[in-house]
Point group: C2
Chain length 126, copies 2
C-alpha cells in the first residue's frame, strides 16, 4: 500500500473560535505563517475553516460581518490519519482547496494536511 495521511501530515495545529474577530484570524494566520485555520467549538470539535482566501473575500465584501463565523466555510472537507494520500489528493483537486483538517473519531482536529506536505513524498522521505 502507498503512503497514508499520517506519514506526511503536520501535527502543529493553530485553530480559532468562530466568535473571534476577522482581524484576530488574520493575525493568527500571519503569526503561524499559514493560510488555513480550522475553526473549533468549546469542546474542540471542528465547526468550520477560515483561510487567507476568506480574509481577502472580506476585503472585497466587508458587509458580511466582522467575526470568523461570518466568513468561515461550515461544510469542511476533512481527512483521517489512515486515509491513503492519493484519496486525500483527489479531495484537494475536486474542491480546488489546499488543506484538509485531519480529524479523529470524535471530529477533533489532530493535524493539518496541506498541499505543501505532498512534497515530503519526494526523495523517499516518508
Amino acid at each position: 500500500h502507498g503512503p497514508r495521511v499520517l506519514d506526511i501530515m503536520d501535527r502543529r495545529v493553530i485553530s480559532i473560535s468562530q466568535e473571534e474577530e476577522i482581524s484576530t484570524a488574520a493575525g493568527k494566520l500571519l503569526k503561524g505563517e499559514t493560510n488555513h485555520l480550522p475553526v473549533i467549538d468549546a469542546h474542540g470539535k471542528l465547526v468550520g475553516i477560515v483561510t487567507t482566501y476568506d480574509i481577502s473575500k472580506a476585503v472585497v465584501n466587508p458587509a458580511k460581518g466582522s467575526h470568523v463565523r461570518d466568513i468561515m466555510r461550515k461544510k469542511v472537507i476533512t481527512t483521517t490519519p489512515d486515509e491513503p494520500v492519493d484519496i486525500a489528493v483527489q479531495k484537494l483537486e475536486k474542491f480546488n482547496i489546499s488543506a484538509l483538517p485531519v480529524v479523529d473519531a470524535d471530529y477533533r482536529v489532530i493535524a493539518m494536511l496541506t498541499a505543501i506536505d505532498l512534497g515530503k513524498l519526494f526523495g523517499g522521505r516518508w
Copy 2:
C-alpha cells in the same frame, strides 16, 4: 530522470500590475479562485508576487499603503519548465511558500507551479 516542472505546471496565469489597488488584487484572486498572483511590469516581466497572505497582512497593517507595490514581495522565488520537480519542491519547503512562477529566459511568466499541482504525480498521471 523524474518529472519536470513542465509535466505538472498550470499554464493558466492570472497576473496583475503593481500600480493596481489592493482591492483589485483581492478581486482577481477571488475571481480566479487562486491564492497567488505574479506581478508583472509593462513589458510582461516578473517584478513581484502578491498572495492572499499579503492581503491578510494588509488587513492587520493597513498603514502600509493601498497599492499592490506596497504589499507585494519583490524577491520572487521562481522555477523554469525544465527544472526537476524535486528541486522545485525543495524551494517550496525552504521558503515555506506554496507557489512558484515559472519563467522563461526573458523572465516572463509562462505558468505557475503550486503545491496542489504536486497532486498530479499521484496515480501515474504525468
